[in-house]
């Protein structure tokens, strides 16, 4: 293995490029993501065990149809990423760009649906609130301790976890979308060549991980019968 002696500018394609090493390194990063969401799931499971009836009542306010639709959209976008990488490796740029576009559109559709869902919860005063707002009496009545119409503790926790966990997930979708869009432009401009499909592949891995986390979020929030 010949190593690169000069640091800085990466322009030449003849230089050493360890694709497997790059991918392995990216997997290590993905493991840290697993632990980030793992911590959320521990909190979720503890409170679910403690406040099960409240969690069931609160879960009924989430639409199964919306959740299922978003699940299918994400799964489909995962498939199109696989296909985009496949055609990139084969050197068929046009197909790679087409499938990457579909992925980006699916990600946007997911976010739009999610924002409508969140909007509905805002209207019902279920969004997280700041301590300062509560003290000034500006908090949402359903979540404000001491107010007569306040939801039971378990439901407050459910919606808190719902916003934090789906919010962190949505943030990952946004990062994934930015990444995919940049790659789309690079492929379109010819900056990203087929011998460097690994960069696209790591983007794909990230996208799949986000999908994988949603696979757990969906039944745990939407389907507590």
């Amino acid at each position: 293995m010949s190593s690169q002696t000069t640091s800085g500018a990466v322009t030449e394609h003849s230089e050493h490029y360890d694709e497997v090493g790059t991918r392995l390194g990216f997997w290590l990063f993905l493991f840290t993501e697993l632990f980030l969401f793992g911590a959320f799931f521990i909190v979720y499971l503890v409170y679910r065990t403690t406040y099960l009836p409240d969690f069931q009542t609160a879960s009924n306010q989430l639409s199964t149809v919306i959740g299922t639709t978003n699940t299918i959209i994400l799964l489909f976008s995962s498939l199109t990423v696989v296909l985009a990488i496949h055609y990139m490796r084969k050197g068929i740029k046009k197909m790679a760009l087409t499938f990457l576009s579909i992925t980006i559109l699916c990600g946007l559709a997911f976010l739009v649906i999610k924002s409508f869902e969140w909007g509905g919860k805002f209207d019902h005063n279920l969004f997280l609130q700041l301590r300062g707002n509560i003290e000034q009496g500006l908090g949402s009545p359903l979540l404000t301790p001491g107010s007569s119409e306040m939801l039971p503790m378990g439901q407050v926790l459910f919606f808190g976890l719902y916003f934090i966990m789906t919010g962190t997930h949505a943030l990952h979708i946004i990062i994934g979308l930015i990444w995919m869009s940049v790659l789309w432009v690079w492929i379109y401009q010819g900056k990203l060549k087929t011998d460097r499909a690994g960069i696209l592949e790591n983007g794909g891995l990230y996208w799949h991980l986000v999908d994988l986390i949603w696979i757990y979020l969906f039944p745990l929030f939407y389907l507590i019968a």
């Binding site: 997997w27 632990f35 793992g38 199964t64 592949e201 794909g204």
Partner: protein
């Protein structure tokens, strides 16, 4: 390390597309299964276990085929299994603590 893992022949490539589509169809079927099963009258613990079990099957399909763990060098799978064990260990330890709190 074996770097031509991913520069497969054309034949393997077309089978990758077919496999991916099959995996996608399986994922959709499992999604529908989770939704249908959640509508049934099962105890809350049973429902949680079924939901997590189905989710784990789906996650495995995504990791093995979409994330290519199935085709990767053995070291990728070793790392992955270690990470999952570490995560499972944290879950187990946290809950053994939680279960014995008074």
């Amino acid at each position: 390390m074996n770097s031509n893992n991913h520069t497969n022949s054309m034949d393997q490539h077309s089978s990758t597309v077919a496999a991916s589509v099959v995996v996608f169809v399986l994922l959709i079927i499992l999604t529908i299964a989770t939704v249908v099963l959640s509508g049934m009258n099962i105890s809350s613990m049973g429902a949680l276990l079924i939901a997590v079990a189905i989710a784990t099957i789906k996650a495995s399909l995504v990791a093995l085929f979409f994330m290519h763990l199935h085709y990767e060098d053995i070291i990728f799978r070793v790392f992955f299994v270690f990470a999952i064990f570490a995560l499972a260990g944290i879950f187990l330890l946290t809950f053994s603590d939680y279960a014995f709190r008074s």
